[in-house]
């Protein structure tokens, strides 16, 4: 009886947002208030539904069943294990807070009627990716999310937005086709693409390598991995800030999630090691980390800098996969948590500033911290976490990752982590310092800062504050729920069921 | 030598093939549409010739039953098919000609190349 309810939950979690997005679409013509309320309610209910799976999942159970078959051996299936749950939980949590934030943010923007249904629809498809039971289902939701989020990217409909959106779309199609190729190769080699099989391809071969490569292209595209990251710094800054928080904070993680599934479920650790593909991943990860951090340094647009920072941070996550040991995996999953929280905080804070002042250039932000202390405080907290200052969650994930690197016998990676932390410091700290301690330079800069600026509205500040505090909370105690989930997920990936 | 004998023995096929090539060539290379249609007719008749000569039995009679059996008859099936074929060819010809007349009314020419030039000029 109880398990029947849990079996129902994943479908509910995915279908509920889809359903609600239709209702919101219809209702948004009538009443803006109702539309906003419904959006938040949907996000909250979805989060609670995901959270309701916790007791079942934490006890080591896996929810897995087939909804219906499209083709023989190929159907819409659902599978929730501890990794899926972790990512679904963080995604719906951040979504919930961003939805609250969006209400006021979108009140000044055009096209809220379009934004909210799409926003909720994307939630459903993202959760669908995390809860997919096989690669085919995953692929469907992946494409759905990618195509739908195009509307979020170009929401402003400016020239740059459309150009960035076009780039994004083309890259998405390429990624989708690569994924299609990979899935079809896997299906041909293994006769199944289900995640339940454990390992689908048991030995490296030329075709298997092509499959791996195509998976890498498909998921790496979304994750912003090095040669394929080109769309990311264009697309994220042009989106409305809440949307960029989700794009950077959550949707990038779908790519990382896919890569984890590929390494552990399509292949397995020994196959990857035997074929030496981990080296390929590692090299790409290192380049991604260094490149992302270095280029972020040269950007003057606040959101662009954050976007490049995301590229660097995704490098950590790919590195965690490449290291192929349990410790690194703990750090990896935990970094997914941390980065989701940190980057959303940063983007939301940046959004609040832009919303209030209209300033995007970093040089114009002198003294903003005095006008908007809470926002900038949250920004500072998240930025420090990014750099890896000890009591914050960023430190914990980097530390664990570093331990993993050492365990893998690759201290070189630790050096890379340190260098990148340094670079993070170099591009985040000046913003903070200027914001709090910089004069207002009324003569040269800051036409906008000069005018009276106070904090953004409460509906915007509270989500930012909650996110920032959770950065702090998850870092302070090493035994928090997120870390525990990471440990369990890593052990699950390496050892199977406990 | 053997080839020549073979050809001489199958001279209907040979003639049909030559006519087919002439018709095909006329159809493809002439830009005048009426010439194309004539070429199409030549091509069709050549195939009919080929078809009928397949069914031809040397010394056979036309397949009409008469008193006192025992004649050698020519295979009637190809003839029946060719009748249909001729009617189809005439319909296509008639239809094509009516289109050509209309085309001439619109373009003032029935030369495919000239029409292409006129169209290219229009599009520019």
């Amino acid at each position: 009886m109880e398990s029947a309810i849990f079996n129902f939950l994943p479908i509910w979690v995915v279908m509920f947002p889809f359903f609600m997005s239709m209702i919101i679409l219809i209702i948004s013509k009538r009443s803006e208030k109702l539309r906003d309320g419904l959006s938040v309610a949907t996000a909250v209910v979805t989060f609670l539904s995901v959270a309701a799976m916790y007791p079942f999942i934490i006890s080591g159970e896996i929810i897995s069943y087939t909804i219906f078959d499209i083709l023989p051996g190929l159907g819409i299936t659902v599978r929730v294990d501890i990794l899926s749950f972790s990512l679904a939980a963080i995604a719906s949590f951040v979504w919930m807070l961003v939805s609250i934030y969006s209400i006021d943010y979108m009140s000044h923007e055009h096209g809220g009627d379009r934004y909210f249904p799409i926003f909720i629809f994307t939630l459903g498809s993202t959760l669908g990716i995390f809860m997919a039971g096989d690669f085919f289902t995953l692929f469907i939701f992946f494409e759905l999310m990618s195509l739908i989020s195009y509307v979020l990217v170009i929401h402003e409909e400016t020239k740059e937005a459309l150009r960035a959106g076009y780039k994004y779309l083309i890259m998405t199609i390429i990624g989708g086709l690569a994924l299609f190729f990979a899935i079809i190769l896997t299906f041909e080699l293994a006769g199944s693409v289900s995640l339940n099989e454990g390992t689908l391809i048991h030995a490296p071969s030329t075709l298997a390598f092509f499959a791996f490569l195509s998976f890498l292209v498909g998921f790496g595209m979304k994750a912003g991995m090095f040669p394929l990251h080109v769309w990311l710094p264009d697309a994220h800054p042009v989106a409305p800030s809440p949307a960029s928080a989700l794009l950077s904070g959550i949707m990038l993680k779908t790519g990382a999630y896919g890569l984890i599934r590929v390494v552990f479920h399509v292949f397995n650790v020994s196959v990857v090691k035997e074929a030496g593909w981990d080296v390929l991943l590692g090299v790409l990860a290192v380049i991604t980390i260094l490149l992302g951090s270095a280029v972020a340094l040269t950007q003057l647009d606040l959101k662009r800098r954050l976007a490049y920072s995301s590229v660097g941070q995704m490098g950590y996550i790919i590195l965690g996969i490449a290291l192929l040991n349990e410790k690194a995996m703990v750090g990896d999953v935990f970094h997914i948590f941390s980065h989701a929280l940190m980057k959303s905080t940063l983007f939301l804070a940046a959004g609040a500033i832009i919303w209030k002042t209209g300033l995007r250039n970093i040089n114009d932000l002198h003294g903003i911290g005095k006008k908007m202390p809470v926002t900038m405080g949250a920004f500072t907290l998240a930025a420090l976490a990014m750099i890896g200052i000890p009591p914050l969650n960023g430190f914990l994930s980097k530390w664990t990752l570093g331990l993993g690197a050492l365990e893998a016998g690759a201290p070189f990676y630790v050096v890379v982590l340190l260098i990148s932390s340094l670079l993070n410091g170099l591009y985040y700290l000046p913003i903070i310092i200027a914001a709090f301690f910089g004069g207002e330079h009324e003569e040269e800069h800051g036409e906008g800062v000069k005018v009276k600026i106070s904090e953004a509205s409460l509906k915007m500040i509270i989500p930012i504050a909650i996110l920032a505090l959770s950065c702090f909370a998850f870092g302070l105690m090493p035994n928090n729920i997120a870390f525990e989930l990471s440990v369990k997920a890593a052990s699950f990936l390496f050892n199977g069921l406990p | 030598m053997e080839v020549i004998t073979k050809l001489l023995n199958n001279y209907y096929y040979f003639a049909a093939m030559i006519l087919f090539v002439i018709g095909f060539h006329t159809m493809l290379t002439h830009s005048n549409l009426i010439k194309k249609i004539i070429g199409m007719n030549i091509m069709d008749t050549s195939i009919f010739l080929f078809f009928v000569s397949i069914g031809y039995v040397r010394g056979g009679r036309a397949p009409i039953i008469q008193e006192g059996a025992g004649y050698l008859y020519v295979n009637p099936l190809p003839s029946a098919l060719i009748l249909t074929g001729i009617v189809v060819a005439v319909s296509v010809t008639a239809y094509a000609l009516s289109l050509i007349v209309k085309l001439y009314a619109h373009y003032g020419t029935m030369d495919a190349d000239e029409i292409a030039i006129i169209r290219a000029r229009e599009e520019r």
Binding site: - | I18, I34, I42, T93, Y104
Partner: protein, 79 residues
């Protein structure tokens, strides 16, 4: 072996076909084509297919020629 009549008729067909393809005056081409059809009808009669011969004479030589001439009279004569 090939009979003289066959040879003459077939050669006539081929010559007609070539002339039709080469000639520039369309009316002449159509008339030669009519002759071609009539000879073709004779060939079919010789091949033991009188019904086709008849149809060809009526349709190929008769109606088709009328149609061609009608079409040419509404367009122009020279190629």
């Amino acid at each position: 072996m090939i009979s003289v009549l066959d040879f003459l008729l077939l050669s006539f067909l081929i010559v007609c076909a070539i002339v039709v393809a080469r000639i520039r005056d369309l009316i002449s081409a159509v008339i030669i084509f009519a002759a071609y059809s009539l000879v073709m009808a004779i060939v079919w009669q010789m091949l033991g297919a009188p019904d086709i011969a008849m149809t060809e004479a009526a349709l190929g030589a008769g109606v088709t020629t009328f149609l061609f001439l009608a079409a040419i009279s509404k367009t122009k004569r020279a190629e």
